[in-house]
Amino acid sequence: MTREISFADAVNEAISETMRKDDDVILLGEDVAGGADVDHLQNDEAWGGVMGVTKGLIQEFGKNRVLDTPIAEAGYVGAAVSAAATGMRPIAELMFNDFIGSCLDEVMNQGAKLRYMFGGHAKIPLVIRTMHGAGFRAAAQHSQSLYGLFTAIPGVKVIVPSNPRDAKGLLISAIEDDDMVVFFEDKTLYNVKADVPEGYYTIPIGQADIKRKGDDLTIVAIGKQVQIALMAAEKLEQKGIQAEVVDPRSLSPLDEDTILKSVQKTNHLIIVDEANPRCNAATDISALVADKGFDFLDAPIKMVTGPHSPVPFSPSLEDVYLPSPEKILAVVAEMIDDESIVAI
């Protein structure tokens, strides 16, 4: 049974269903309850997160399992790492992924490395949920997409869902997983609605999803950019070009096979990622194919990404910062040397 719900509600369901199933699952973060300790608050008057994504959980699960934290990211993310190592299955919300600057050590040097440094004698079943993405007019410190930073760290798994259905199934898998997982939620997707199954279901981590089939060109797109890639693909169809849109869904582990098989078929690859261009997910996927899929390629691998600059505040600049169907078409035009594509 599916029904249309928003991305935010899909995330909420994944958490609540997992918490119902497993008493060790707890949720902590800044205002995830949101004023829960204020006496006069009734029912769902508590914030439930700065975007309301975790609304209602405090009512069902109480203060022991839904914990507001001080504004102390190192403190509570580090506590979550250790709670995981000592028997809980915490979900820690890092409100904006941009705040990783306040708690990278806890993720990179503690959570990601304890198991290895301890010779395998520890596990860290921790999920860090965090908001990312530009387009919200939230400026340079609240608009980054930092999954590349996490993908680089051995010991971390990284999930970037592109739609409500994937978000729910992947988040449940992440909570069930015995390793540390960083789960990215695009703030501009929260209100997007789509069919989502009811009840408890999982989508395996490390399995890409082909969001559109096509023989002529592979577009690997990350997170929200999957929607942009699909828009470009529709336009390309008008020109008889069938683009295959691959959604990796998790960047670590990365489903190399699905990407390589697609390129083997289409011989052309464009990667679309709104993050900054250097040392990032787009270059990572490009390098994969330039190595293991080189013989499949008929053309240079192209990347459509944000520029090497912070995210600007002004709408007129932020709009040109982000990838767009037009930018993808321009790259295709260059790739197959057909100027007319730009004009679709």
Binding site: G34, D37, V38, I71, A74, R137, Q141, F313, L317
Partner: protein, 336 residues
């Protein structure tokens, strides 16, 4: 009130009227932004300072352009008190190319380094180290400048609070740490998130003076800041001042503020209001007259109207501005 009377002489009529004007500028500016935001014209996250005017103004009354301040996500008030241009601010909040930051920063990053305003800051706790650095420059350049770090009650639990103040203390830097304890960090009450009885108590950890004042009593803030700034300028090191205050609006625009009680809101908007109280004080102590103050009100109204008009009429930045201002220079042209 006794301490107030002792110091009162130092507050000249001129300074008092400047302070009143800045407070009214902040209030009207923020009320205006609140109204405009609700029409959808202003993009992004906006956090309003209305209600807390006495803090920014009571402190900045002791500073001039060579002194630096660091600010927070709730930075408009600090900007105005430190002398930033209202037009440039409003244009920035609108994302226009005529903004103080050419529209690249927005509400959360308005800055004017030439005025000693080191930027609103989207990162809670981001200001502590920055203020320490500005204090270090002042100490090394021996230019008599001080640095002020404004921060919220929520920020007082961040690690940078500890690192910044400790550092300022051991290096004996001219830095004043000003807590704006408005009772909440987002929807979370101060008492829930903070294990201290008062933020001022935490001064003990750093062997520096710490005091709590009524942050809606302009004179009280002014006097506490005077002591701290004097100490700093005399090379006696940092101080911590906790100002108990209240934000008239929500955490950000759009917040339903369910966590507040209607009693506290009412009280703060009326009997406890800093501007009303300061106004009464000025008149009662013959530092100004009703007419004069009314004149200031009207003058500010016009200034805010001008700022809105300026912002509305200004152009958005051109696309070619997207990647400028990232570096002073990126590719080095020189040969070895």
């Amino acid at each position: 009130m006794r301490a107030s009377q002792v110091q009162q002489e130092s507050l000249t009529s001129e300074k008092a009227k400047w302070m009143y004007q800045k407070m009214v500028e902040i209030r009207q500016f923020e009320d205006q932004v609140h109204e405009t935001f609700s029409t959808g014209v202003i993009p992004g996250f906006v956090h309003l300072y209305a209600g807390e005017e006495a803090v920014a103004v009571g402190v900045c009354a002791h500073l001039d352009d060579k002194d630096f301040i660091t600010s927070t996500h709730r930075g408009h008030g600090h900007c105005i008190a430190k002398g930033c241009d209202l037009k440039g601010m409003m244009a920035e909040i609108y994302g226009k190319s005529t903004g103080l930051c050419k529209g690249k920063g927005g509400s959360m990053h308005i800055a004017d380094v030439s005025k000693g305003m080191l930027g609103a800051n989207g990162i809670v706790g981001g200001g502590f180290p920055l203020a320490t650095g500005a204090g270090l420059t002042a100490k090394l350049k021996k230019n008599g400048a001080v640095a002020v770090c404004f921060f919220g009650d929520g920020a007082n639990n961040h690690g940078t609070f500890h690192e910044g103040i400790n550092q300022a203390a051991i290096w004996n830097l001219p830095v004043i740490f000003v807590a704006e304890n408005n009772g909440y960090g987002e929807a979370t009450p101060f008492e829930y998130a903070s294990s201290c009885k008062s933020i001022a108590d935490r001064a003990t950890s750093y062997s520096i003076p710490g005091e709590t004042v009524d942050g809606k009593d302009t004179i009280a803030v002014y006097e506490a800041a005077q002591r701290a700034v004097e100490r700093a300028r005399n090379g006696e090191g940092p101080s911590l001042i906790e100002c108990k205050t209240y934000r008239n609006y929500g955490h950000f625009e759009g917040d339903a503020q369910t966590y507040k009680t209607s009693e506290e809101r009412d009280e703060h908007l009326t009997a406890l209001d800093a501007i009303i109280r300061f106004r009464e004080h000025l008149v009662a102590n013959e530092l100004s007259t009703e007419e004069e103050l009314h004149g200031i009100d009207e003058q500010v109204q016009e200034a805010v109207r001008d700022a809105v008009e300026f912002a509305e009429k200004s152009p958005l930045p051109e696309a070619d501005q997207l990647t400028t201002d990232v570096y002073v220079n990126y590719k080095s042209g020189e040969e070895e």
